[in-house]
Symmetry: C2
Subunit: 271 residues, 2 copies
Amino acid sequence: MSAVRERFSFNQATAKYWPIPDLVTGCLAAGVTQVGLWREETLAHGLDKTATLIRESGLAVTSLCRGGFFQTPDWYDENRRAIDEAATLGAPVLVLVSGGLPDGSRDVDAARAHVGEAIGELVPHARAAGVRLAIEPLHPMYCSDRCVVSSLGQALDLAAPHPAETVGVVVDTYHIWWDDQVWAQIARAGREDRIACFQVADWATPLPEGVLLGRALPGDGCVELRRFRAAVDAAGYQGPIEVEVFNADVWARPGPEILDRTLSGYLAHVD
Amino acid sequence: MSAVRERFSFNQATAKYWPIPDLVTGCLAAGVTQVGLWREETLAHGLDKTATLIRESGLAVTSLCRGGFFQTPDWYDENRRAIDEAATLGAPVLVLVSGGLPDGSRDVDAARAHVGEAIGELVPHARAAGVRLAIEPLHPMYCSDRCVVSSLGQALDLAAPHPAETVGVVVDTYHIWWDDQVWAQIARAGREDRIACFQVADWATPLPEGVLLGRALPGDGCVELRRFRAAVDAAGYQGPIEVEVFNADVWARPGPEILDRTLSGYLAHVD
């Protein structure tokens, strides 16, 4: 087993309909040692029940998705809950999808400033819980409704005022592959010790129906995934490499098959 | 009639199914003095016939869309033809949509480098024809299949080696509104005298079916259109302001109604 394969983490969202107990069994059977989890699914299964199951399985949790959505009225309480859930699950990282424009607003600058302030308010709780907040830049096509943070450079700017051990960024190939600044920003993220999470998904052309599900398994798209992995490595990141793919056709397959195809794509295009 | 209204240009793509003679009559009836044209439509109506009709109408042509697609094998001849058509139509500007990745390629750097080389090869013909090439950055969601130029900064970098009177850029609000570097890059575009074309469309949320048609009339989306207009003005641009909206619901309306709604939105949100 190569070093890169040991860093593989299977993000639960790639097999959205795989029940958590089956996911755990399936990962163990495939020799996968790490998983990324989602709040909705873990809460539906039961937070403590999931935490116990994962702990007893020996699997490591690499991240919990997701906090953020700072444009909603209850962002503060909701994100504190998300931090607590990450701590309960043993996830060292909480991924933040920062939210889009407030209803009726056109002021993206103000929305971005609010994201920065909100993260600042969450830092003490995150530090106390031992959970690192990871600001995820989402593809600019989500800027209006899901995430006003649209580039790795922006995410690093937002992280900058806060201690690196508590606030980092997510490098997700799907969201940032098009950006000609991305290589410089990955190097910067390394220098500033901000890479909290590295997620891999490919870009399918044309985008499948609905921009939310337009991701492809590694190798099924046009992203230079291995170049990203090498760049993140060169920036000093030695952590897990999650594969996280939202794709209705993938989701329709049985969990073990999805995991198998994910691992094959990963070994062929990321390793 | 305000100065900004005098700068209004109705891009033909906003009323895709309005026959050219009706478009001309409709614009004149509405007091609109400028139009942006498309190659497909003008060729379908007849290039010389369109040129004569427009000239006799007194309408000014502000741009012709589009050249580019430099990843296709016949890009050189095709773009020379597009330059000639722009000259015939009296369009001072040919908009370039640079094309996506070549089939099977993942090398976006190479594709961008090729765009720069291709434009360089077209400069002599464009200069001789008196047509300015305008590099249009398209939204990053089109990077793989339509345009590897994804930001205004990139477009300006590509334009930089060439004389500003022959190679400029397009500022299109729909494509670049999400970019936090856009204000600095608009100012730079002014300093470098590169703004060849200013196009306005709004961003609808959620995107309508199919990312190609996800544009909205001015005011029907979340873009700070007036801020863009003021920024472009402050950068020294005094030229036409085209409204160009691809939207199936808009296209389904009669031409005069589309033009009326376009003008209303323009006066309320751009003027």
